[in-house]
């Protein structure tokens, strides 16, 4: 399978074994000439399987059986993410929602409730008159230009497949913690680096590490950072929106 997709404004050639990968990418297909290409074959799938098994073991889970098709999608995105670090584009783990043309990213370890929280924004904000849509529910690309940081939709958008092929200026990043009461505050300077580093793509090539750190520095200096302690009530969405959206940039 050979096809080209446009991600974060960059046309990328993909060579894959499975049609399901092209299918996943259907909203991003383009006729443009690729700037670069990535290939995924049996070796890459096997490497992803091993990686995934190691991660399961490290977290005390039984090894999850994933299909070749699914693992191929991971392998392809990993290769794309690696090359994108050379183009001021960074893969970041989080659920990104756009409100009135501005993007807000919620991050936390898997299972904490990022998607749950952005779902509350989708429930609560439209009745108040806001234009709301999901940019990417799981693994957005962040694009760094001279003027701004943009959150970008990609086909790698989580289990509920929530994304739009768009690039929206990023106006807030928030780490979520589960808590009985809803409360938000600015992230402490000392916490920002470990949080951002933990949730961003870790490059395989040492030569890309410096690029990643420079991009994280752009987030730190250019995007307001928050810590949210919240439950699953609608009120949680109002608490975070008021601090990040209404008062924010």
């Amino acid at each position: 399978m050979e096809f080209t997709i446009k991600l974060a404004g960059i046309p990328v050639g993909v060579r894959s074994l499975h049609e399901s990968t092209r299918d996943l990418c259907r909203d991003y297909l383009t006729d443009e000439e690729p700037y670069f290409s990535v290939t995924s074959g049996e070796d890459e799938i096997a490497a992803e399987r091993e990686r995934s098994a190691k991660a399961d073991e490290a977290e005390g889970r039984s090894v999850q059986p994933y299909s070749d098709e699914y693992l191929e999608t991971l392998a392809v995105y990993r290769k794309i993410a690696e090359k994108m670090t050379e183009r001021d584009i960074l893969l970041f783990h989080g659920s990104v929602i756009a409100v009135d043309g501005k993007a807000y990213l919620f991050t936390a370890p898997s299972g904490t409730g990022k998607s749950t929280h952005t779902r509350l924004w989708r429930k609560v904000l439209p009745p108040l008159g806001h234009d709301v849509y999901m940019v990417n529910d799981d693994k957005p690309l962040l694009k760094f230009t001279d003027e701004a940081v943009f959150a970008c939709g990609t086909p790698w958008d989580g289990k509920h497949h929530l994304s739009r092929n768009c690039m929206v200026p990023l106006k807030g990043v928030c780490r979520i913690h589960q808590a009985p009461q809803n409360e938000i505050r600015t992230m402490k300077a000392g916490d920002a680096w470990p949080v951002l580093f933990r949730q961003s793509y870790r490059p395989e090539d040492p030569a890309h590490a410096a690029s990643v750190l420079r991009m994280l520095d752009r987030i730190l200096t250019g995007v307001p950072l928050f810590e949210l302690y919240c439950n699953m009530d609608s009120e949680a969405a109002l608490v975070s929106w008021r601090a990040m959206g209404e008062k924010g940039a």
Binding site: P194, P203, P206, A209, L213, D217, L220
Partner: protein, 87 residues
């Protein structure tokens, strides 16, 4: 003494940060934040050096009291050792 892992050091808006790279990234997944002098000490530790060698290097590069520099270097080295980053 020497750092156990291979690191990349990057200057950023609020100082310097360092992360392990290559195969070592799996062994140390944290990020180290430093100011200018601790970054200097850190870079020295990429080779096998003694405390005296580090302090001599600091005195050459920076103006200041040697005792203070030694104290700062020692404190930072202690932190690295506590994080099991030194061989």
């Amino acid at each position: 003494m020497k750092l156990k892992y291979k690191f990349v050091v990057q200057e950023v808006s609020d100082g310097f940060v360092a992360v392990a790279v290559g195969a070592d990234a799996a062994k140390f997944s944290g990020i180290i934040r430093m100011n200018k002098t601790s970054a200097f000490v850190f870079k020295q530790l990429m080779k096998d050096v003694t405390e005296d060698e580090i302090v001599a290097g600091m005195c050459e590069k920076y103006d200041g009291d040697e005792q203070v520099m030694r104290k700062d270097a020692r404190a930072f080295i202690k932190k690295l050792a506590a994080a099991d980053l030194l061989a």
